[in-house]
Symmetry: C2
Subunit: 149 residues, 2 copies
């Protein structure tokens, strides 16, 4: 995965931002994902969803998270790949059919490893936005980033 | 979703545990999910994965999380459904092809809402275990639980 656009630990600085491509969601994708992994009526059944907590069909939060990962793979050019040690995820508002999603990532902490000098842990804040710039998901993730080989 | 086995806020007590069914994973599922949502060689290409950080094909953490959600929907009988306000997820070890996964959930905190007396926030610790009882994912999730209607 290492090419001229790849970045490694020493290339990163606090405050750097990365913008992803856009991702077009639709009702069929929402229902298909939910039937596989989150089979609850407010994610799988448009009519039932109207009278639910979400007041309309909403994507599973895990679907939003998975789409976010896809957008991160295309936009955060870490040379050793994106290897998450842990994440903190919040869904301040539902993701809806026909939303167009994108992710803005910001480097917020860089901690070189004491025990393993070839790497560090980088904390990235990733906001998943819809077409109105509403935040549908806010994630803090700690990723393992190697020094340039 | 309300039936005789459903539980609501007043039915829950700290320390209660719930056991899920098992879920059989395989290589094809790992590669298919990763191609859609986490297209990195250590998740999509068995040969490339051998020489990666994971030293062999590993499921995307988001795949493990999605399977965990499926198992939770079948095992945590909250009357108003499973509605997550936020999660903290760690992946202490990779999930591998042919792993058999299950989830053990434990109620660890119950906080009635001050502003909305019909509900509360319940913190659940969910451990996703493989067939050797190794923890592949550890999740703390805060879910919205209504009082019995």
């Amino acid at each position: 995965m290492s090419d001229k656009t790849s970045v490694f630990l020493d290339d990163l600085a606090i405050g750097q931002e990365y913008q992803s491509q856009q991702y077009q969601l639709d009702k069929e994708q929402i229902i298909s994902f939910a039937k596989q992994f989150d089979p609850q009526p407010f994610h799988t059944d448009e009519a039932a969803a109207e009278h639910s907590f979400f007041q309309g069909l909403a994507a599973s939060g895990w679907h939003t998270a998975a789409i976010t990962m896809k957008l991160l793979v295309g936009s955060l050019p870490i040379g050793n790949g994106l290897i998450g040690a842990g994440v903190d995820v919040q869904w301040p508002r539902p993701t809806r059919p026909n939303d167009t999603l994108r992710v803005v990532s910001k480097i917020i902490e860089i901690t070189p490893s004491r025990s393993k000098p070839d790497r560090g842990i980088v904390t990235v804040e990733c906001r998943t936005l819809n077409q109105n710039d509403d935040v549908c998901q806010k994630m803090l993730t700690k990723i393992v980033v190697m020094r340039r080989p």
